[in-house]
Symmetry: C2
């Protein structure tokens, strides 16, 4: 089973990477660009074939390592 | 208009971050984890309201700054 975890900053958390991208785009002449936010996407190949167990496993991975629950939120997508 | 750009390494490109995550998960006792790959998600608020123009603009941003076409691929999603 494949799992895709999208991790992004919680609203209100300063996103220096997003700020840097926004400034760089303006410097390159791109206009009309408002807020820019950068997050992570982690794709995992899992041996687990049961969707519920796989989700539970990935949830535990997010809590233990992949995401910082203080400043980040995460969304889990599973695919066969 | 909101744009979401998902950037990931091309197949075959070494992903040290993914490797590090994979080893860390194994060290934490997670079993059955195969390949792990990490990419970026960049969310942009655009003043542009026309979808075709917005896609063209984001395409140009990807080529100019957001993605490294030598080792990365990108996918653009637009939302009102």
């Amino acid at each position: 089973m494949k799992a895709k975890v999208t991790i992004s900053f919680k609203p209100g958390v300063l996103d220096p990477q997003g700020r840097a991208i926004s400034h760089a785009l303006a410097g390159l002449g791109f206009e009309g660009v408002g807020d820019v936010r950068q997050g992570k996407v982690i794709e995992l190949d899992l041996a687990e074939t049961d969707a519920a167990k796989a989700r539970e496993q990935v949830e535990a991975m997010c809590q233990a390592l992949l995401a910082n629950p203080v400043i980040e939120t995460y969304a889990i997508e599973l695919a066969k």
